[in-house]
């Protein structure tokens, strides 16, 4: 029997706000334990939450980026459960009235069927993206445990996907696309090392063609995207094997053991949670005004996939170039500043994608500290295109630009690097080369045409690279053939 895997992801993302969700404590990573805390995020008696407006804005912005509906009315609820890392022993979240719902993410995925234009891309539906608060972090020591509440009350977005994912590669591609969008939107830095993104996986298997879902199994403790990928591979294999053996799978929560590379059941107590959700009475329902929404709409940036397609369309770039200029936004912006309205953007892309990053990393310079601007690259390409310098000289000009910051025109003038395209000068050089290399000249005349390249190289060398290479070849060839066929053959 052929099986398919059905996967939905719940992705938790820490929002990039200056302060926490309900208090004014800083939202920063890496402080000494329990230093970014106050009575509010410690759940002291008598404190009340006040919603962070920027967190609400980032939530709605996420909804817009993920093509979600923004309901006119949203509210917060209390999710009740006892755990030492929870300061209030309830988590404030959005249960049945989230700030955003019913959206989708589109992304490139090799496993997708190609569309009419041959592009392989797919969509995953987003059930909702709702706002909640993060909890503290339990630390276990040899003789005792402690809780660090620095993270408690940090605004957290939970992005729930529909069960549209069919495998580990697709889940991986989805997570990459999702986090790219969130980083681009300024929603979150999505730094996995700092725990800014955490992911739970809901996974089930069923015989291909069957429409009902198998028993939904939740995977926890997935601390990296590669863990998500490996856990899905393991778990889907495990479930398929179990079904083949005739075992009935039941709904449960399993923990991923990253070292062992397996999933194992968590305590059954975890499954039996009744969170007893009810509306948070300390917070008013949230009804965004049109003005407020307009302010959020104005913050919607161009998303990665749209950007890639625009670069390909507007600048006639190949997909590979557009990918680089999309993934590295500052480089892409530099490119666009140089290439806008230029007739050969591809030539500029080559410099920006190849030479520029190479030089930056060789010199340990950041793009922001570059000593020349996008106009200089455009000027350099113009010099090459007009034939005033050769591509080879252009490399030297670029190196000089990089160190001195001078403009390409100025460098060419100062160094006397302008290409020699004066035919009388090249004729003189050609005579000199033929006279100095009688052997290769004779070879050419004897029909070994490859000798011309050698002679051309000698001419370029003699001109210190400044001779127009095309002209050099033409003049040499004419002079060498003239000797052989003298007088010229008249047309018959």
């Amino acid at each position: 029997m052929d099986f398919e895997t059905v996967i939905g992801l719940e992705t938790h993302v820490q929002l990039k706000t200056r302060s926490k969700m309900w208090c004014t404590c800083p939202n920063t990573f890496g402080a000494e334990p329990n230093t970014n805390v106050c009575p509010i995020c410690l759940g002291m008696p008598g404190v009340l939450p006040v919603a962070n407006d920027e967190a609400l804005r980032l939530t709605v912005l996420t909804g817009l980026l993920l093509n979600c509906e923004i309901p006119k009315y949203a509210k917060f609820d209390r999710k009740n459960y006892f755990y030492p890392d929870s300061a209030k022993n309830y988590q404030v979240t959005q249960y049945d009235r989230p700030s955003t719902q019913n959206g989708w993410v589109e992304f490139e995925f090799e496993g997708a069927d190609p569309d009419a234009e041959g592009r392989r891309r797919t969509r995953v539906r987003i059930t909702r993206a709702h706002l909640e608060e993060d909890v503290g972090k339990n630390n276990h020591f040899e003789r005792y445990s402690g809780v660090d509440f620095n993270r408690a009350g940090v605004p957290l977005l939970e992005i729930v996907s529909e069960p549209d994912l069919t495998g580990s590669d697709m889940a991986y591609a989805y997570l990459r696309a999702l986090t790219d969008i969130l980083v681009r939107g300024g929603i979150s830095d999505c730094d996995l090392e700092k725990g800014m993104v955490r992911c739970d996986v809901n996974i089930s298997v069923r015989p291909r063609g069957q429409s009902t879902l198998g028993a939904k199994i939740e995977l926890k403790n997935l601390n990296s995207f590669s863990a998500v990928r490996r856990a899905i591979e393991f778990e889907s294999g495990r479930q398929i094997e179990a079904v083949k053996r005739g075992e009935a799978l039941r709904q449960e929560t399993r923990r991923w053991d990253d070292e062992a590379g397996i999933t194992e059941p968590m305590r059954s107590k975890e499954d039996a949670h009744d969170y007893r959700y009810f509306p948070e009475p300390d917070l008013m329902p949230f009804a965004p005004t049109e003005t407020w929404l307009d302010e959020v709409r104005a913050r919607v940036p161009e998303l990665p996939l749209a950007r890639k397609e625009r670069l390909m369309r507007d600048y006639a770039l190949p997909a590979g170039d557009a990918d680089v200029l999309t993934d590295h936004l500052p480089l892409g912006q530099f490119f666009e500043a140089a290439a806008r309205g230029f007739r050969n953007p591809k030539a500029i892309a080559n410099w920006v994608i190849n030479n520029l990053p190479a030089a930056l990393s060789a010199h340990g310079v950041r793009l922001a500290d570059l000593r020349f601007g996008p106009d200089a690259i455009r000027e350099l390409v113009t010099l090459v295109e007009s034939g005033r310098i050769s591509s080879k000289i252009a490399q030297d000009v670029f190196a000089e630009m990089f160190t001195s910051g001078a403009g390409p025109e100025a460098i060419v003038a100062a160094k006397g690097w302008a290409q020699v395209s004066d035919s009388s000068a090249i004729e003189g050089l050609a005579d000199e080369v033929i006279a100095a290399n009688p052997g290769p000249a004779a070879d050419f005349r004897a029909g070994r045409t490859a000798a011309l390249n050698f002679l051309k190289g000698q001419l370029m060398k003699l001109s210190k690279g400044r001779a127009n290479p095309a002209m050099a070849g033409e003049v040499l060839e004419r002079k060498l053939r003239n000797v052989v066929h003298s007088p010229p053959i008249s047309p018959s």
Binding site: M44, P45, N80, F82, N89, D274, F278
Partner: protein
């Protein structure tokens, strides 16, 4: 000038007049409180604790300001000692909610009302006894002890803010702040013969009030007169950015509402409150009060609050539900009592098992139950719907009347231990007060007479409740003040005073 020994019998306006004229000092006023506490609190047991040095420093600062020419126009409570229910956070002072579970907890911050009292110049001191976590009607649920009624030490002072009412009635302080979730200010004020106000939900910031039921709780003043109630409310009311449920609207000048007669006012009598179970002497006193209001120019009409019968049931679902979550934070991890265990779950259940009293446990269990999956719709959700109906009842009634009057409680103060075995009987002492919390409007209780016409009944105070529209405190004060000035019940002193 009355002797300094009689200072304690003054109300706030009387005291501030003397302070302004420099006939007494803030330090002497505070000492009058301490002397009276020393005199009567061994029996009354209203105070759980008080910090003498901290209070004296505040009084000395008030005296310095008075000496430097600061007036009561600038700081209306300058030099006035005000005490707090043990549920309000006062920086550096214990805040225990009369519970073992908050043993040793010292608040690291001031409640907004405490900040505002201090800004108004008050000398804020003391921790007043209450039912544990404000759950109760008699202070018998306090983990410390039961406060007694200053009119009869064999009787309860009411609750949950029993210490607040008893201390003011016994002249141990000039006013106090308590909290009212289902009647916890109005009921003890009535039983102790003083003025207690529950402001409109959202008028006074709850920041720093240890939550019992967040959507019902409101902080309010206990005072010896209606004028003092207006003065204290003026000091604590108004929007607070730290409380999302506090309403951002300007606060009127409440003292301007005092004075004048009641001509043109329509006062409603609730048809559904006309039930059995009201003590005959309470009934007689309230009927007399209604006639008095009529003689002051008010017109009385019957109004209907058709869903009143469901108020108690609704209240005892919503309040415990919210409490079950609000009290979850007391887990022994970060502060207060801790009973160690092998793992966090055991530490937690041992701590809570040892730290909470039986009534608190009862309500946590009740609240957990009504929120449980499978029961939520039948209980919590339905209760919220009935709550909306109750609120609409009031809004409809207030279309035809400016205020509603009723007894505050069905009976005068009952005997200590009389109802402890029967929680349902205890819950019934709130039947006239809880609708107001569910609807979110305002209510005040003022003295309207005494029992004891018959020789077999002791002389106990009776309270008249006046309910107002949302943010209708000015009308409450106008009616209450006119009644008070025309009767003088507030000039009666408890035997312990």
């Amino acid at each position: 000038m009355a002797g300094v020994s009689m200072l304690r019998q003054l109300n706030i306006s009387g005291l501030t007049e003397r302070l302004a004229r420099r006939e007494c000092s803030a330090r002497e006023s505070l000492q009058a409180c301490f002397d009276q506490i020393a005199q009567v609190d061994g029996t009354l047991k209203a105070f759980l604790s008080y910090d003498v040095a901290n209070a004296e420093a505040q009084a000395d600062e008030a005296d310095r300001l008075l000496a430097s020419g600061v007036t009561h126009r600038e700081k209306p409570l300058l030099g006035v000692p005000i005490a707090l229910k043990d549920v309000l956070c006062h920086r550096g002072q214990p805040c225990g909610c009369a519970s073992k579970i908050l043993q040793g907890f010292v608040s690291p911050y001031d409640a907004t009302v405490v900040t505002r009292l201090k800004e108004a110049g008050a000398v804020v001191f003391g921790r007043l006894n209450m039912d544990e976590f404000a759950m109760g009607s008699s202070t018998e649920n306090s983990s410390a002890w039961t406060t007694v009624n200053p009119w009869d030490p064999t009787r309860i002072p009411g609750g949950s803010s029993g210490g607040c009412a008893a201390s003011v009635a016994a002249n141990e302080c000039f006013g106090s702040l308590g909290s009212d979730t289902g009647g916890s200010i109005r009921q003890p004020a009535a039983l102790c013969g003083i003025v207690g106000l529950k402001p409109t939900y959202g008028l006074v910031s709850r920041f720093g009030l240890v939550a019992f039921a967040s959507s019902l709780d409101q902080i309010g003043p206990f005072t010896k007169s209606v004028g003092d109630s207006a003065t204290l409310l003026q000091a604590i009311a108004g929007h607070d950015p730290r409380d999302s449920t506090s309403v951002p609207q300007p606060v009127p000048d409440y003292r301007k509402a005092l004075g004048g007669d009641l001509r043109g006012l329509r006062i409603g009598l609730v048809r559904e409150f006309n039930v059995g179970g009201v003590d005959p002497e309470v009934d007689t006193a309230v009927r007399a009060a209604v006639r008095q209001l009529e003689s002051l120019g008010a017109e009385t009409v019957e109004v209907s609050l058709p869903h009143s019968d469901y108020a108690a049931a609704t209240y005892y679902i919503i309040a415990p539900a919210e409490a079950s979550a609000n009290l979850a934070r007391f887990d022994g991890i970060r502060y207060g009592l801790r009973v160690e265990g092998r793992d966090p779950a055991e530490l937690n259940s041992r701590t809570r098992g040892a730290g909470f009293g039986p009534e608190v446990k009862r309500r946590i269990i009740l609240g957990t139950y009504v929120l449980s999956s499978g029961y939520y719709d039948a209980f919590y959700l339905r209760a919220q719907k009935v709550r909306t109906l109750i609120r609409n009842d009031f809004l409809k009634a207030f279309e035809s009347v400016d205020a509603i009057v009723s007894p505050t409680t069905p009976t005068p103060a009952f005997r200590i231990g009389e109802k402890t075995e029967d929680p349902l009987q205890m819950y019934l002492s709130d039947i006239f007060t809880i609708s107001c919390n569910l609807a979110g409007n305002c209510g005040i209780s003022i003295p309207c007479g005494f029992t004891g016409a018959r020789s077999d009944v002791p002389r106990l105070p009776i309270g008249l409740q006046i309910l107002g529209k949302p943010f209708g405190e000015e009308t409450l004060f106008r009616i209450a003040h006119a009644y008070e000035q025309s009767t003088g019940w507030h000039r009666e002193h408890a035997p312990m005073a």
